[in-house]
């Protein structure tokens, strides 16, 4: 580690320690469930594993083992420790196995995700039919977040522990084997698996699995055969088990085999058969194997298939998967590989990489603002999805205006000016993808377009002194004038500069010849080319992306010389060639490229051989995380608070006129004071101030019990499981008044203070109401765990300018930044600085929210805990340098981050390593930030819901510093170079494997002193927040408006087939909606309007059986047919196929038949047909 990195982390940790000290002091004063901070700091992965599992001694052992072996081997070595009892304190054999399995999963997921605690419910020993014992591992849905390898290894670990403990193998009964097969396929149909094993395969695994895989039901859909089995408690699909079997064992068999071979105690000889696919009975073998191959061939229509290589240019195959499940209101920007769509350009911008797509900000405006920074797009390649980032150093869109002019727009301002006059978007501009994306997705390189980066290196290779040209004040290498470009082409024999290279490959030979004829008939006037305005010529120029203007008679091309030269004309528009002169190869070539090469006096390259289709996925996100309904404090007030859960209402609540106001019955945990014996629901004794303990008393026996190590409480006499929850009457009126008094507030400080109906945690400890009062006052609300959160879309950034972050260079120097990316001293606001790995940029909304939170925290410290304020912020600049927690869903570990600035884009920009430490990439993923002190003061495990998944998305542990080797390794595939070599571009034309090209990726610096630095980029961008701040998807009102805009845009885009879009919207959105609602209507539940009671079927009495109130439908005619007319109209307008129209007709007739009285009909049914 470099000294400056060390200083950076020291700085973070000292601020963290400072906050910790304050928080620890505060916690001894208030009435929090526990008198200490509940988020332990983990310095490394071993710490996280120990903290997340709560098994002491694991961290130390992991550190020992990690020095000697890989993580997987360490997980297996730990099994021996658990079995021998040197790690963990388990009495039972099942407990030992459980500890080992959990630890293995935690280790393999770097102690970040919730799978080890939430994904494994328990391990138990059951009996085989021969009376011997076997091991049953009980999985739950969240095991998903562990990934296939960890899932598979958890099984291996369980088996290893089993054999060390001398427990027998599981002997599956025939019906259990069949059940596995049926269930896995049911789960695949319902939820979908990444890998769908065939029934034979599942059976084969089930027959040989030495331990039983079991789990809890995750869906409502039940198996139809093999029900009510003795050793399987549910008839529903067990999601966790299905994942482990299919995506774990079946998919990762080769990986497991590597480890079974190392272990003498574990024999899984059947893995070989599984890997080879030789698990079929006898004669079926050959046939099935053949079938397999057939399937494979179809599935992976590999782009590198050199089918057409001999007689056509290199091209990737179009792939339309990204169009599936198209959603109304989210537009398609390009059909698969369609001309006019985004043109692939290779490179990494500084706000780019790690599942993102660089788009020109002018393009964002031209597509009616549907794209904004952070908008997710589903893309054709190389990955499935990406987050959009603005990059203005690439080319913008080419549009046709109402007056016929064709212009390329490279300026977002210009895009806004001309946007309303755009009649057709001929080209969406360039689409920047970095090399690392191809590595990560293992996608063969797609042919590169002819770009300045490539041209410069080609020019250099051809002998030019490019550095001298770059330094010359008279030369603009990126945008030379035509004379200059032509002379370079002539002098060095380098292909014509990309600025003057047009999309010749988008013309056919006939188009080209026709255009040549048009040029024959053209004239040069005022140094512009005037071509007669014919449809063919106009169309050809538009497809070539040649900028021009038009009048009725002529098409005028301003910068015309390179165009006519390329076509084999001289400046007097004389040509030396006739169509018959063209070589055979040019005639047979599928486009005009060879003909151009034959007639041009210089070499010409393909401008845009790879077009990438895509459509909008999710809009970007930047908003506070509120529970629904929003909650200020986790204090239960039952129904007394009305539908708003208002404390005011609850304080006035009385069941009848005579009753005392504010007495509310709620479920709360009973607690006892260890010092004075007083019973209360509060975490702290009101009489003596001691912290109380939950009180467990068996209702039947009256015996007081204590929890065991695992937290389970049993009555020692009747062995019933106990909890401490009971119905208690709380004087809300009194508690509310006291809380207001305690923090010196009046009710007028806020509009409403909202509590919760009931608590969902195990011990049902309420939060102090004071916290809610102050949250309400400062306009923030709490999440289920007591923290205030703000959600945003993740985006990466590796270098920033202080100016774009609305901070000054002084601020940056205070943060410890001293030099810019070139190593020059940091002196100006607009110098580019390499971002440190835990530094983050807050969107405006988050900054505002964090300010409010800081005010809330300060007042909480002062008025509630009686301490000094910690933040003392007046404006958002004061937040710079403050620490926050980053926290992703499905994980249980927070990552400490430092605020360094702000952006108007609605996203959370941070170093890719920061996102990877949270287990996120940037393809549209969202997660949240919390203010450090808020988390330390207000988070408590005691608030977490007592249900599956309750521990997810909660900061059970925090990482104070990022170790690049312990993050999601996807981030290691990011390339970190300033330019890609010439060989790279040439390799793309061969559609080479990305691994075969030598470009430095982040992985190479891992474990070295340079691991925190050196993230160079190939493309700059003026600002990381260009283009619209919000996607039109979020600013347009109704779904109908969005859909109209979507279809309107489809009409304008050359690369989009609007009929197909309309078709997909109807098929994917309207029809399922109509059919679903009609189905729902004809088998709906009903509900009482007065008391809310639900009935599966309409009561025969007509009225509510509970309260006599009015019962009504839950699905009405209006909600069934709301889209009918629109759907029919869209089908007509966009000329959808008959099949679709007929489905709509049949549906409309059905609706009419259900909702109209035949006897009252004005007209015949036939009228609408």
């Amino acid at each position: 580690m470099r000294p400056e990195d060390d200083a950076y982390f020291e700085g973070l940790e000292s601020r963290l320690d400072e906050a910790f000290a304050v928080a620890e002091e505060a916690k001894t004063r208030g009435e929090d469930p526990v008198p200490e901070v509940e988020i332990p700091v983990a310095k490394d992965m071993a710490d996280r594993v120990e903290n997340i599992l709560g098994i002491e001694g694991v961290a130390e052992r992991v550190r020992d083992l990690e020095g000697e072996m890989g993580r997987e081997e360490a997980a297996l070595a730990l099994v021996e420790d658990f079995v021998e009892g040197t790690v963990g304190d388990y009495d039972t054999r099942a407990g030992k196995i459980e500890g080992a399995v959990r630890t293995a999963v935690a280790l393999l997921t770097e102690g970040v995700v919730a799978a080890p605690i939430e994904g494994i419910d328990r391990v138990e020993l059951l009996q085989n039919d021969d009376g011997t014992e076997f091991v049953n591992v009980y999985y739950a849905g969240p095991i998903r977040s562990a990934g296939g390898t960890a899932q598979a290894l958890s099984v291996l670990v369980a088996d290893y522990a089993r054999s060390l403990l001398g427990i027998e193998e599981y002997g599956a009964r025939a019906d259990e084997v069949e059940r596995y097969a049926e269930e896995v396929s049911l789960y695949d149909d319902e939820t979908g698996l990444q890998y769908s094993p065939k029934d034979e395969e599942t059976r084969f695994i089930a027959e040989h699995m030495p331990i039983m895989l079991d789990g809890e039901a995750t869906g409502d859909e039940e198996v139809s055969g093999f029900r009510d089995l003795e050793r399987v408690d549910t008839n529903s699909a067990r999601g966790g088990m299905c994942l482990v079997l299919a995506e774990g064992i079946a998919l990762k068999a080769p990986k497991i085999q590597r480890y079974t071979r190392q272990l003498d105690e574990v024999e899984w000889p059947w893995l070989q058969d599984l890997i080879d696919g030789t698990y079929y009975d006898g004669g079926d073998d050959a046939a099935d194997a053949d079938e397999d191959e057939g399937d494979d061939g179809e599935d992976e229509a590999t782009p590198e298939e050199p089918d057409d290589a001999p007689d056509g240019p290199p091209r990737v195959d179009p792939d339309s998967k990204f169009l599936r499940d198209l959603i109304a209101g989210r537009p398609v920007f390009g059909h698969p590989s369609e001309a006019g769509g985004f043109r692939l350009r290779y490179g990494r911008a500084r706000n780019h990489g790690f599942a993102t797509a660089g788009v020109h900000p002018a393009t964002m405006h031209v597509v009616d603002d549907f794209l904004a920074t952070g908008t997710q797009i589903k893309t054709e390649r190389p990955g499935k999805a990406g987050g959009v980032v603005p990059v203005d150093s690439i080319e913008g869109p080419t549009v046709k205006l109402a007056n016929g002019d064709v212009r390329r727009i490279d300026d977002p301002e210009e895009a806004l000016e001309v946007r309303n006059g755009v009649v057709e978007i001929l080209d969406l501009g360039e689409y920047l993808v970095n090399y690392g994306e191809f590595v990560e997705n293992n996608h063969p390189l797609a042919p590169a377009g002819w770009t300045v980066e490539w041209w410069e290196q080609a020019l250099k290779a051809d002998g030019a002194d490019v550095q001298a040209l770059r330094d010359s004040p008279y030369v603009d290498l990126a945008d030379p004038d035509a004379e200059q470009a032509l002379s370079w082409a002539a002098d060095y024999d380098t292909p014509l500069h990309p600025q003057y290279t047009y999309c010749w490959h988008d013309l056919t030979l006939e188009d080209f010849l026709a255009l040549a004829d048009a040029v024959d008939g053209a004239a040069v006037q005022a140094d512009t080319l005037r071509v007669p305005n014919t449809e063919g010529a106009r169309d050809a120029l538009e497809r070539l992306l040649v900028e021009h203007s038009q009048s009725d008679a002529t098409l005028t091309v301003a910068d015309w010389r390179p165009l006519v030269r390329t076509m084999g004309f001289d400046d007097d528009l004389e040509r030396e060639w006739a169509p018959d002169d063209l070589p055979e190869a040019a005639r047979e070539w599928p486009n005009a490229m060879r003909a151009v090469e034959a007639v041009a006096p210089f070499a010409v390259r393909e401008r845009a051989p790879t077009r990438i289709g895509n459509r909008m996925g999710r809009p970007e996100k930047s908003e506070s995380r509120d529970l629904s309904p929003a909650v200020h404090t986790l204090f239960p007030i039952g129904d007394a608070g009305g539908s708003q859960r208002s404390f005011r209402e609850a304080a006035d609540y009385a069941p009848d006129m005579r009753a005392e106001q504010g007495l509310v019955d709620v479920q709360l945990g009973e607690r006892a004071c260890p010092d004075c014996g007083e019973h209360t629901y509060k975490p702290r004794c009101e009489s003596c101030g001691a912290w109380t303990d939950p009180h467990y008393e068996c209702e039947d026996c009256g015996i007081v019990a204590e929890p065991d190590e695992s937290g389970r409480v049993e009555c020692p006499r009747c062995e019933r499981e106990l909890d401490n929850v009971e119905r208690q009457t709380v004087d809300v009126r009194d508690a509310y008044r006291e809380a207001l008094q305690a923090v010196g507030e009046r009710e007028s400080a806020y509009d409403i203070l909202k509590g919760v109906k009931g608590l969902t945690s195990t011990e049902k400890v309420p939060e102090p109401i004071e916290k809610g009062v102050l949250r309400a006052k400062h306009g923030v609300t709490t999440f289920k765990d007591g923290t205030v959160r703000y959600d945003m879309t993740d985006l990466p950034v590796t270098s920033v300018r202080p100016a774009e972050l609305d901070v000054t260079v002084e601020d940056f120097r205070e943060l410890g930044y001293t030099a810019d990316v070139n190593g020059d001293p940091l002196q100006h606001d607009d110098q580019l600085v390499e971002l440190r790995v835990q530094d983050i940029v807050l969107p405006d909304g988050a900054a505002e929210h964090m300010l409010k939170t800081a005010d809330f925290v300060d007042e909480l410290l002062e008025d509630y805990y009686g301490l000094e304020p910690f933040y003392d912020v007046a404006e958002r600049q004061d937040l710079v340098g403050e620490l926050v927690f980053g926290m992703a869903p499905h994980t249980s570990a927070a990552v400490v981050g430092r605020v360094v600035g702000f952006t108007s884009a609605a996203v959370g920009y941070a170093h890719p390593y920061f996102h990877a430490a949270k287990r996120r990439n940037c393809d549209g993923d969202e997660d949240c930030v919390m203010l450090l002190m808020d988390g330390l003061l207000n988070f408590s495990k005691s608030y977490l819901p007592d249900k599956r998944g309750g521990q997810m998305d909660a900061p059970l542990v925090m990482s104070s510093r990022i170790d690049p080797t312990e993050i999601d390794d996807e981030a290691h595939n990011m390339d970190v170079v300033e330019r890609y070599p010439l060989e790279f571009y040439e390799a793309t034309r061969e559609m080479a494997d990305p691994e075969d090209v030598d470009i430095t990726i982040a992985e190479e610096s891992l474990g070295t002193d340079e691991e925190y630095t050196g993230f160079a980029h190939t493309h700059d961008t003026t600002d990381i927040a260009l283009g619209p701040d919000l996607s039109a998807y979020k600013t347009l009102g109704s779904m109908m408006e969005k859909m109209d805009a979507q279809l309107e845009l489809a009409r304008k885009l050359r690369a989009v087939d609007e009929t197909d879009v309309a078709e997909r919207v109807i098929e994917g959105h309207f029809l399922p909606d109509l059919i679903g609602n009609l189905r729902a209507f004809s088998r709906q539940e009903t509900r009482c309007l007065d008391c809310g009671e639900k009935y599966r079927r309409m009561p025969l009495s007509g009225d509510c059986r509970e309260c006599g109130g009015r019962v009504n439908l839950t699905v009405h005619e209006g909600s069934v047919n709301k889209y009918m007319d629109t759907a029919i109209q869209v089908a007509e307008e966009y000329d959808c196929r008959e099949y679709t129209k007929q489905r709509l007709e049949v549906l409309e007739a059905s609706l009419e038949s259900v909702f109209e009285d035949d006897h009252n009909k004005q007209s015949g049914i036939a009228d609408f047909m």
């Binding site: 139809s224 029809l1071 059919i1075 009609l1078 189905r1079 209507f1081 004809s1082 088998r1083 709906q1084 539940e1085 009903t1086 599966r1096 079927r1097 309409m1098 009561p1099 025969l1100 009495s1101 007509g1102 059986r1105 019962v1111 009504n1112 439908l1113 009405h1116 005619e1117 069934v1120 008959e1138 099949y1139 007929q1142 489905r1143 049949v1146 549906l1147 007739a1149 059905s1150 038949s1153 259900v1154 909702f1155 109209e1156 009285d1157 035949d1158 006897h1159 015949g1164 049914i1165 036939a1166 047909m1169």
Partner: protein, 542 residues
Amino acid sequence: MPDSTPVRVARELTARGYNADRAAVTLLADEPDPDAAVERVADAAPDDALTLSADDVRALLDDANADDAPAATPPAEPPDTTTDGGAPADVSATADASATPPADPTSTDASSGATSGRESPTEAGTPDETRGGESANAGGRTPTPPAVAEDVTGHSTGTGEYGDFVTVFRDRYERLSKKLRGRINHRPTDALDAMPGGSDAAIVGMVNDIRSTASGHWLVELEDTNGTFPALIMKDRDWADVVDELLLDEVIAIEGTLADDGGILFADSVHFPDVPRTHRPNTADRHVQAALVSDVHVGSQEFAGERWDAFADWLHTPEAEAVEYLLVGGDMVEGVGVYPDQDEELDIVDVYEQYRAFSERLKDVPGDMEIVMIPGNHDAVRLAEPQPGFDEELREIMGAHDARIVGNPATVTVEGVDVLMYHGVSLDEVIAEDGDESVSYDAPHNAMARLLKKRHVAPQYGGRMRVAPEEKDYLVIDDVPDVFHTGHVHKLGVGEYRNVKLVNSGSWQEQTAFQKSVNIDPDVGTAPIVDLDTLDITVRKF
């Protein structure tokens, strides 16, 4: 397939605007060159003729054959075979012995069809008009138009309001409870609360809920118009497995004893509306038969066209002479949008074309048969039951034969025999829910028997069944039918329940990819034939 089929002959004739009696078609089909024979007959027949009888054909053939001596003239070149031929030559060599002498003078009144009066002769030229009406000939079929009851078609008055739903369920309760009240002493649910513990009591109620208790007993909650009341069925009762056949929302009666503290009824017996044991079916008073088919699925890639041809051919044979009625139990076509991406598996993608194609298939059925059709879940009518019959546009498309188009379900009376036609969507649910293994896809008639016992074709609300609320519950089986006909599950099932004949009629669609995936092996090309005078059933396989 044989070279010359009666079907082809019939088609050729209709294409030229003529209908023909079965005997006439047979005669033509037996010609050595039927195509030429049809050609000759068509040319020779009078312009105003609608239906050709056997005698007509004989006469015409003779006339026409007179012109060209060899009967084996290629059909493609009959330029001079005009109608006004000379003397009758010898009839085609293959004509069997029973063929009447050619010069029979009675054969001159060729235009017997004109006497029917049901169709105007001006329409004779359109190929759609296959129907010949009642033939005056002794050898032809003489079906009487069936009567139809309990049909929602044209009377769908529900507008989807809450009250409509309540009306339907109340109607169900009232009509079915009547069938039970005679047998037990019903106490309203609210009166039971007031009764002393330990007293005997009985409830007629709609099943509102079925739960198993922690100890394995069954709690069945019954509902009447006053409220609900729970009844406990102890698991050790030897009749406790009756719970396996209970469906939500059917109407049953439970007799038993009230618990000591009231509140629950310990069940001693369970009663269903059921079919009386004494039920004696009606029969026809002459020897006449009805063919019961369903699930034709025209338009599907799996449509078994050749089997259908074989069936239609058979109907033209003397063996099928008594088959005067054809009842079609729904799913005429494969439909559109029935399941996702269905278009990829359609042979005919246009739903109207599907019905046109079906109509063509219908024309192959002898013109003197009476046809009744109900819709199914693949048809282009609403899915919610009761389903009204096809709308005007589809009726027009299927205009051939002037088939009787009714709703699903409907009771159709043919020759005095009541046939309850129901497509059968609820069979899926009965088979899935019923605990008895004999109620399976391999024996759909057992599931049908359950429905008869419940006296309702689709009791359970809210699951797979879709209900459109109407002014009454059309799905109640108010009168016991003589024959119960369903389809939908594509499996043949023939049985009997308390003297009611049960027929589930298989399909005309070969195994689909979906059926293969769930291991359903359909019965394809089966046509159960019911003797309406004896109610005996023979299954024909094509």
